[in-house]
Amino acid sequence: MKDRLNREIIAMRVAKELQDGDVVNLGIGIPSLCSQFVPEGKTVIYHSESGVLNYGPMAEDGLEDQDLINASGQFLAPVDGMSFFSSSDAFAMIRGGHIDVTVLGALQVSKFGDLANWMIPSRGIGNVGGGMDLAVGAKKVIVAMEHNDKNGASKIVNECTFPLTSKSCVSLIVTDIAVIEVVREGLKLLECAPGWTKEEIQSETSVELIFAEGIQEFSL
């Protein structure tokens, strides 16, 4: 089997999409790693639905404060210019269109940009959390995930079979083998992981991809 990119490289590729001044909410898992890879010179403002804006690094060991957490329950370091607010205000920001980019994990993404990321049907119960709000509210939704599930099945599908998080919300999919844009006509392959051909990526993907002109290797 071919080499796939690790979680850090996926996060690094996503981080390249973030623009100077963007207000960004990072989901749990691979998305949470993106903040480490924002290029020098770009200022990104982080928002967390735990009720904090403009946070910075995680707290150092021994300096954790239980009143200073992000939405993953990690401890944040206090930094100048950060602010706190209620859950209703946190989601007013999200739903009101004040978040520029959210990066979310996914179980499935459809060719229409539909997102399913909150419940594996076999479990019969799941956490919606803030994902549905982020998916409808953020100006841009980027999915960061492994291309295939642990059984090798394509997580990029013609129609989501898992319960939906939101319809037609995803703009860009960054996986461990490809960067794919959601366009009106379907899914457009933009970049391939090093060593992968577009045909090889197509064979791992259950949606028929549109091959962009000048498909490149992953640009970091």
């Binding site: 009720g51 404060d65 329950g73 209620s86 989601f91 799941g126 919606v128 549905m132």
Partner: protein
């Protein structure tokens, strides 16, 4: 007009069976009214409906928990068979190998669940406190959480009608209260606490410290006194 109670037990002593309660803290112990929850467990009121972001997470996976600490959350009410129904956005453990007490009870059909997106949950509670019976939101349209609800289009986009949530009691965690009940929260522990305190008939608050009137500067007050009915100071040593 005295709102100060001397014990957590006394502050929750009139909560009857079948009450609806708002209890939160996002998920971690920072903003969770751990002492009031313990007192309610000791009281033993049954058939409670609890509105909460999670259904008890920290006690299982240590979410937001300082190293070496063992947090209390509504999991102890589930374990004590006091809860009939939970209204939450994050009811199960993200780690299937470490299920929450709620999840286990749910699998045995001992508890009901109303699953609500987190932003919709916060907004429904705010609406309850603000006299808004219902509102339209884009969140959840086209998903299972909007099934059976009215969908309406505004300016080309679809929205679902959601209704307000209110409670008989809210169990709140704040940082400080003055003797009138003006509250401040600390950092991210504001979360659902500052919304829930507005939406319950009776709000019961545990705080690190009760201070004299004027010791909390007006510009610092997060929750004005009208939302607070009972205050209890946490006597145990507190590391903050």
């Amino acid at each position: 007009m005295n709102k100060i109670f001397n014990s957590f037990e006394e502050a929750v002593s009139d909560i009857p069976d079948n009450s609806t309660l708002m209890i939160d803290g996002f998920a971690g112990p920072g903003g969770t009214s751990q002492n009031l929850i313990t007192a309610l467990r000791n009281l033993g009121s049954k058939d409670l409906t609890v509105i909460s972001n999670t259904a008890g997470l920290a006690s299982v996976i240590g979410f937001g928990t300082l190293p070496g600490k063992t947090p209390v959350d509504i999991g102890i009410l589930v374990e004590n068979h006091q809860i009939k129904k939970v209204i939450a956005s994050f009811p199960v453990s993200p780690s299937p190998s470490r299920p929450t007490a709620f999840e286990k009870a749910y699998a045995k059909h001992e508890v009901e669940l109303e699953l609500v997106p987190q932003g919709t949950l916060a907004e429904r509670i705010r609406a309850g406190g603000a006299g808004i019976p219902a509102f339209f939101t884009p969140t959840g349209v086209g998903t299972t959480v909007s099934e059976g609800k009215e969908i309406r289009e505004f300016q080309g986009k679809q929205y679902v009608l959601e209704t307000a949530l209110k409670a008989d009691y809210a169990l709140i965690r704040a940082y400080k209260s003055d003797k009138l009940g003006n509250l401040i929260y600390r950092g991210t522990s504001k979360n659902f606490n500052s919304v829930m305190v507005t939406a319950a008939a009776t709000s019961i608050v545990e705080v690190d410290k009760i201070v004299n009137i004027g010791e909390i500067e007006s510009s610092l007050i997060d929750t004005p006194l009208i939302y607070v009915d009972r205050i209890v100071e946490i006597k145990e040593n507190n590391e903050r």
